[in-house]
């Protein structure tokens, strides 16, 4: 568990991070979202003490980070820097193996781990292992940067816009991979992004920052359905809020017995997928399947009702 307690950073009289407090449970992903310059990177860097807080404290499992030698603290924490920060004079394999080498892993174990990570990120090890960063595309560099942060299987991962340079398709895949790896290893991740969509998709918790202040931290559904301020609502995107909301509700919630024409959707899909399937093909309902076998349907009527239900709680005016 990470406890961030009234942490503040003042640069030349400016509060880059202003009395931020929040708690991140072990084994969850917290996404920090905010506009450029809102203090996301500064907040992240105070956790591994690349930036020393002006005041306040960070505790890892109850232990204050200020009590540990910084370099030992940092070896426990994976850090994917904004814009990859790969070592240009080291091969991909050496870059990924950097932290394990610092920790004194045997060579064979490092090599094995490097190949495993390259595989995981869809980069053929035999092809990429010996390359230098200059010979990679921007997206590949970024994936190697993330792989490097994961290499020593740290309990805590700090990631600063790790998917910024990826195209939407690779980006979605990388997000899924990260989610899967995180579930498998039970690691705790603090991820900075300026993309609310990414935060909602990945985060167990979303922390919205504005001008150095934490303006709301809550589960994604809460952030979408009940934004704490005008700013958060804008971040979510007023016009897209209903769709965002639907994308957070799984089909299983509205499953009803019965049949429907056309291609079925998997039970794991969300209401937004079902809505767009209905609108696109002019159907009033879509069939739902589990492991390929039909289990029922979801109707347009039910989706509309669900949206209305959440929208109704939203009638209370959003605080300015």
């Amino acid at each position: 568990m990470i406890e961030i307690d009234e942490i503040t950073k003042i640069y030349q009289g400016q509060r880059a991070v202003d009395a931020v407090s929040t708690t991140i449970e072990t084994g969850t992903i917290a996404c920090i979202v905010g506009t450029s310059g809102s203090g996301k990177t500064t907040l992240l860097r105070m956790i591994n003490r690349l930036v020393e807080p002006t005041s306040g404290e960070v505790r890892l499992n109850g232990e204050a980070t200020s009590a540990m030698p910084p370099h030992l603290l940092r070896r426990r924490i994976g850090y994917a820097i904004q814009g990859h920060g790969l070592f240009p004079h080291h091969t991909v394999a050496r870059n990924i193996g950097a932290v394990p080498r610092l920790l004194g892993w045997p060579k064979a174990k490092i090599a094995e781990r490097v190949d495993e990570l390259l595989d995981l990120f869809g980069m053929e090890p035999s092809q990429f292992r010996a390359r230098y960063p200059a010979a990679l595309s921007g997206g590949q560099q970024q994936r190697v940067g993330v792989a490097r942060a994961l290499a020593s299987r740290p309990d805590l991962l700090l990631m600063d816009e790790p998917f910024g340079a990826l195209d939407p398709i690779i980006r979605a895949r990388a997000q899924e991979d990260l989610r899967r790896i995180q579930r498998q290893l039970g690691s705790t991740i603090l991820l900075v992004t300026h993309d609310m969509e990414e935060a909602i998709r990945l985060g167990d918790k979303v922390c919205v920052m504005d001008g150095g202040k934490l303006v709301q931290d809550a589960a994604p559904t809460r952030i979408v359905a009940d934004p704490a301020s005008r700013f958060v609502a804008e971040m979510v995107g007023d016009a897209e809020r209903p769709l965002r909301l639907l994308s957070l509700i799984p089909l299983s919630d509205l499953l009803e017995p019965g049949e429907a024409p056309g291609d079925p959707l998997d039970e794991g899909a969300n209401l937004r997928d079902a809505l767009s399937a209905c609108l696109w093909t002019g159907r009033e309902a879509v069939p739902v399947s589990r492991d390929g076998a039909p289990v029922g349907r979801v109707t347009l009527e039910a989706i509309r009702a669900a949206a209305l239900r959440h929208g109704a709680t939203d009638d209370a005016p959003v605080p300015a």
Binding site: H71, R76, Y79, H84, F87, P88, V99, R148
Partner: protein, 397 residues
């Protein structure tokens, strides 16, 4: 309509594709140099002599043969493309002028008296320069790799050694100066190497750590860089002059200083002066190299838990090394040249001959000091360039 100017432009384009512009310039300059006196014949060592044109320097058939080689060499240099052929042209031309010089010696000295001297004149030097420029131009198009460049250097130095060892040029005036001083020459050569490379090593030992410290501390940097820049602006003669009273004082007051060889004149003051001149380039390049390390790589290194020393060793120094070595290259070439002035304060080295020659107005003696210095500086520059290239870490080349 618009095609017409294009068509007219084509012949000019074709012409410039067939000829290499610098090659044409070299050919014109080379041919013009043939009109200059090729050798000087003097009655004795210090009188002014008479310049002789190439065709007066040797029997007609020899002259025709060697000049044909020079003209052919320049001609090969004129064409574009095929840089190996241009390189061969420069070698052919150089072989031509050296052969003509060797043939001129017995021919001219036969009738002249025992004291007579023959030395290369403006025509020879101009041709040598033009042909070497042609060689450099051809090589730059060839882009030889570092090892090939090193090999070429060894080959050229070897060829020079062979020509000198063959005895064909033994009666050349400068070689006569050498013969009387073979021992002193060897001693001067070692002293010159000791002065320039020794001061370089000492400068590296001081300036690398100093540069790293300046990079760490802005205050130290703001104090040191102007100070070293000031040292650099002291004129070299003045610097060597200042060292004399300074070290004489040290020798007189510090116990034991005299015993380790410190004195107002000689090796110590020359070494110290060269060392002081070396500091700024090495410190400045160390700073530039470290400044150029990508901040993101530096931050990633810290962020993953490297200590300051680990980061320096495995990230910052490897990335900065080529620029740091480029600083050493500047210093080495600069010191080889400056070490000549050490001759003035009894520091030894090739400068000894230069200043003796100046005193006696004996041009050949001056050249005996100056030419080896030039060869040494050029060789050092090439060797250091190769080293800089070979140390560029993979992925940044």
């Amino acid at each position: 309509m618009t095609a017409a100017p294009d068509l007219r432009a084509r012949p000019a384009g074709a012409a410039s594709a067939a000829f290499s512009p610098p090659g044409v310039l070299f050919a014109v300059l080379g041919l013009a140099s043939l009109a200059l006196p090729f050798v000087t014949l003097r009655a004795n060592r210090i009188v002014l002599g008479e310049g002789l044109a190439p065709w007066a320097a040797a029997p007609g058939a020899f002259v025709a043969f060697t000049l044909a080689a020079v003209v052919l060499g320049l001609g090969l240099g004129v064409q574009r493309g095929r840089p190996w052929l241009r390189f061969g042209g420069s070698l052919l031309g150089l072989a031509g002028i050296v052969t003509l010089l060797a043939l001129a010696l017995p021919y001219l000295l036969e009738e002249a008296g025992d004291l007579a001297r023959v030395s290369p004149a403006a025509g020879f030097w101009c041709l040598a320069l033009v042909l070497m420029l042609l060689m450099a131009d051809a090589l730059s198009a060839l882009r030889p790799g570092p090892w090939l460049r090193l090999g070429l250097l060894v080959a050229v130095l070897g060829a020079l050694g062979l020509v000198l060892a063959s005895g064909a040029l033994d009666r050349l005036s400068i070689m006569l100066e050498y013969r009387g001083r073979a021992d002193a020459f060897a001693q001067a050569a070692w002293r010159h190497v000791a002065l320039s490379i020794g001061s370089l090593a000492a400068a590296a030992a001081i300036a690398f750590p100093l540069g790293i410290a300046c990079h760490r501390s802005g205050r130290l940097r703001r104090a040191m860089v102007p100070l070293l820049s000031f040292v650099q602006t002291i004129p070299s003669l003045a610097m060597f002059g200042i060292m004399i009273p300074l070290l004489a004082w040290v020798a007189a007051t510090v116990p034991g200083a005299r015993e380790v060889g410190i004195a107002g004149i000689g090796f110590a003051p020359a070494f110290l002066a060269l060392l002081l001149y070396s500091l700024l380039p090495v410190v400045a390049n160390t700073l530039a190299g470290l400044d150029a390390v990508p901040p993101a790589a530096r931050e990633a290194a810290t962020g993953m838990g490297m200590t300051a020393l680990q980061r320096l060793r495995s990230v910052e120094l490897p990335l900065a090394l080529p620029v740091m070595l480029a600083g050493l290259r500047i210093v080495l070439v600069q010191n080889i040249g400056l070490a000549v002035i050490a001759g003035l304060i009894g520091g030894g080295g090739f400068g000894t001959f230069v200043f003796q020659g100046l005193n006696q107005t004996a041009t050949d003696l001056i050249l005996l000091g100056a030419l080896p210095t030039v060869v040494m500086a050029l060789s050092a520059a090439i060797v250091m360039d190769v080293a800089v290239e070979l140390t560029a870490p993979g992925g940044t080349r």
